[in-house]
Amino acid sequence: MSDFIEFPCGCKFEKNSKGLPVFNPNIEALPLECDRTWDMICEGNTKGVFQLESQLGQSKAREVKPRTVEELSDLIAIIRPGCGDAIVDGKSLTQHYIDRKAGKDEVKYFDPRLKPILESTQGILVYQEQAMQIAQLVANFSLGQADNLRKAIGKKNVELMAKVKKEFLEGAVSQGNFTEKDAEEIFSWIEKSQKYSFNKSHSVSYALNGYQTAYAKAHFPRAFFTSYLRHADGKPKPFEEINDLVNNARTMDIDTNPPSIANMNENFCLVDKLPTFGLVNVKSVGVSVFKQIEGVVNENNYNVAAMSWDEFLMKVGRYIKSNSFDAMIRAGVFDCYGRQRNEMLYQYNIYKELKDSDKDYLTKVEAKTFLEGLEKTIPHIKQSKKATVHRERHLEQVNGSIAALKNPPYELIDRWSWRAKQERDLLGVEITCSEVDEYDTSNANCTCREYIKGFDNNYIAIAAQISDVREWKIRGGQHKGEKMAFLKVSDGTCSLDNITVFSDDWSKLKSKIVVGKILLLRGERDKKRGSFLVKKAQTLEQCI
């Protein structure tokens, strides 16, 4: 990253030894009561925040609304799989924690003496350290014995657990504070907690790391997204990661620039304070291709930003691998030259069929357009010393190319849907347009970005493309066994993934809501969870 960014608190983004941007927090001065950071976490805007990146992390952050590192630590501990799967009184411990914290359920303790230990976690045994403290209180365990209990829980060691249980019950009875029955009950929680309880010291350090990344995101969002985009290729699904990050940045009013030959940047970097794709972030364009272009440009002192498309094609096209050049045109790398991508693609297809000698000649010839350059090769070929037959064939080929340039067989314009698809395929995300742009969206009253920013109305209509449909079989309640769906849509402003279609509506809309379709989704905001509840779906008229 070219920019070195520092915040008054001393936190900064800087380059590491490999030149990659890393956040360097000033641990001593980092304020832990930053409202902007906590507000962002409470909104569930935690993409890229350590331990809270997942959909689950984002949605639970919205529900738990942590305001301290300790609460953040609780959140990290309760979204671990064991806690979600531990069902007590018909709901998970995660949900118990959330409901108690929100004041919906009362916080109850088995015995008031346990309150000081469990109070911070809403009466729920979340941490292994809490089990140790309980053992000390109930059975008067020494620190060594308590540590044995922690080991038994942590390692899920059955033999050790049985031994510790015996000591626990004996200790409780000899202590006389708890009856044997109560001690057994308390130990049974500890045993059950084996499946989910987490090491608090571990969880708090996760929370601190999470807070630091959230702080970086809240205060240096542009550098944060640039850095995360750079590291996206290390993720199992880099394109999905890029899509999520770019859309998340959009919700924070940060647009991402498409790759451009005018910038000549290899990887993601900040250009005009915006995260910007590099050339190697285009699928099929590798570092070697970038180096090749850079080498030719530097060697010949070309100012690519000041060149025209035709000049670039003739001067540099010769040195770029054809599939990489093709991909760069489609991805919009040459949009700065003000030509339609289809037109450039068409010209490039003609160019790449030329003989190497013609391409060499074009790098030297003085011509403003590719057509002019080709016409100038004709006298050059005529003067060549080749056998007549070869010369004639060569001339025929160049004349054919000139004819093709003059009379394109189809309209060389870019349709939004085509452009969007190319960007999706080659960059992982639609950057300059969306397929939705081709449709009449006059009946919509809200965009995805506006919805995320809190748009509310009795009636909401969003025109968007369906990008994901997850069908879900309802496990309980009056609709048990029926199917409902969760959707993800996008419309060019950003993507929206908390969309729900309940079973009654899903049975009617299932055939209409298909991945890839552009629809007008009508419905309302779920006041409780904030998700968009779809009631109707309508196909849209293509208007371009």
Binding site: G400, A404, E411, R424, G516
Partner: protein
């Protein structure tokens, strides 16, 4: 099963009637939206192609060549020499075919889960017997991947046979006969590839709409349950 693949109605005009020996002299195509079955005339493809060897005298010595050129001259209402001059103005076969492959790529859709073939579906009149073998030959010759689906094909000739094989009218299966039979208004010169694809696309979409209407009201599922096969 719901089709999401574009349909590309295409047609070659050639310098011989034999699919194995001919050179294409014109290639035209028009895409059909798979959902609405709208013929997207504004996105049509049309190119004249310079036949290989037309500058050499041997080209004209091939049997049936002269007759074919005369046939084209008659259709266009121009002279024999003017036909040759027009063909000579065309682009090389290689450039034309590669341009067509690029054009078809524009209509390749995103694969749905479980979908194997996202390429457009070729359509036209007698494409199975004439145009597709030529397309395959050009792909091989110019080392280009077949731009169409290799599985699904929509040949209007087959479809019309299913509907009319037991009727007296029309009396043959020539495209000219169908034009008259359906009462189609002339869009331009018949046997100009672009005019032909527009007409063929009109027939194909009309029948597809008819099929869609029928299939929505007919009961196919389980219709063989009580039938001895």
């Amino acid at each position: 099963m719901k089709n999401n693949r574009w349909i590309i109605c295409f047609d070659f005009e050639t310098d011989l009637p034999d699919k194995d020996l001919c050179n294409p002299v014109q290639l035209a195509a028009v895409p059909i939206d798979p959902e609405t079955l709208e013929v997207k005339k504004d996105q049509a493809f049309n190119t004249m192609i310079k036949p290989d060897g037309i500058d050499k005298p041997e080209y004209f010595e091939v049997p049936k060549r002269e007759g074919t050129i005369n046939w084209h001259a008659q259709n266009y209402g121009i002279t024999y020499e003017e036909v040759i001059e027009r063909w000579k103005q065309g682009v090389s076969e290689k450039v034309a075919w590669k341009n067509f492959a690029t054009y078809c790529k524009k209509f390749t859709v995103d694969k749905k889960p479980g979908q194997w073939f996202p390429e457009p579906i070729p359509a036209g009149y007698n494409i199975t017997g004439f145009d597709i073998p030529i397309a395959e030959r050009l792909c091989k010759k110019h080392k280009v991947k077949m731009p169409f689906s290799s599985v699904t094909k929509l040949d209007a000739m087959d479809n019309l046979f299913w509907w009319f094989e037991n009727l007296e009218e029309p009396y043959d299966f020539k495209m000219d006969t169908w034009r008259k039979f359906f009462g189609m208004k002339a869009l331009g010169v018949a046997h100009d590839a672009l005019v032909d694809v527009f007409e063929e696309a009109a027939i194909i979409t009309r029948f597809m709409k008819f099929h869609r209407k029928q299939s929505s009201i007919s009961k196919f599922k389980g219709s063989f349950e009580n039938v001895d096969i």
